[in-house]
Point group: C2
Chain length 150, copies 2
């Protein structure tokens, strides 16, 4: 290690946040309907059959068709964007405030999206889980699941 | 829709952030070495053969062994935590400041982790890409890739 350390044992260059979270859906039309109309996210980019990019506060949710990103060659400035693409049900969690859960539950019901589980965590925090159209496990959780501050 | 709207066309209950980003690695020892020693993240929970949970600023990176989370029955307060578990190379991006890239590149080199691509995005922003031990595409990117403000 030549790069030294920052205060409090944090390695220099340690990331301060996660900027992009990815989920894979082959049917992007169904994914768009879910993430835009049910979750309420703001679509910022839409490339037919390849991706949908949504803003979520200060970060991004990228929805990719894995059949494209696994195999396609996309170059930017002569560099190939690394290929990726997962199969199967993955998982991520949105951050929601406790007072938002009623509206979220109502919107899931309005769109006939089943709530798969609702959990009160023993250490604090509340989560509700549903599935996106590709079967990914989508959680809405309070910050208190992980952090003391709201 | 019965739940009405907030200002500026945002649906009520729309999540304000992503709280958990997930990546799957069967070899959790190798994943721990990578995310702790190479990326520099703070481990906050470690369940042998099931998961590693890391704090990244105000959110969490959850590393799961998909062979466990696909099949295991885990109940909290009588509710089963929904099963999930992906295969194949997925992708996510850490947020890094431009002045941190030298230290990140040095640490990757110190641990013999290859840089797969470095991209200057035409619209602004800089990214470097490597692979975690499971082959997931890990990106370090500046906020300016997506947002005007730093």
């Amino acid at each position: 290690m030549t790069s030294g350390k920052q205060a409090a044992g944090v390695l220099e260059g340690t990331p301060s946040a996660i900027l992009e979270t990815v989920v894979y859906c082959e049917d992007l039309a169904a994914a768009r309907q879910f993430y835009e109309q049910v979750v309420g996210l703001q679509l910022v980019s839409d490339e037919p059959d390849r991706h949908l990019f949504f803003r979520v506060g200060k970060s991004m949710l990228l929805v990719f068709n894995p059949n494209q990103t696994r195999t396609a060659t996309v170059k930017v400035g002569g560099q190939m964007i690394p290929r990726h693409g997962g199969d199967g049900a993955s998982h991520f969690a949105f951050q929601s405030k406790r007072e938002q859960f009623e509206a979220i539950g109502q919107r899931l019901a309005d769109h006939a999206v089943a709530i798969e589980a609702q959990i009160e965590w023993p250490g604090g925090g509340h989560s509700i889980y549903c599935r996106d159209p590709a079967g990914n496990s989508v959680e809405f959780a309070t910050r208190t699941l992980w952090f003391h501050e709201e």
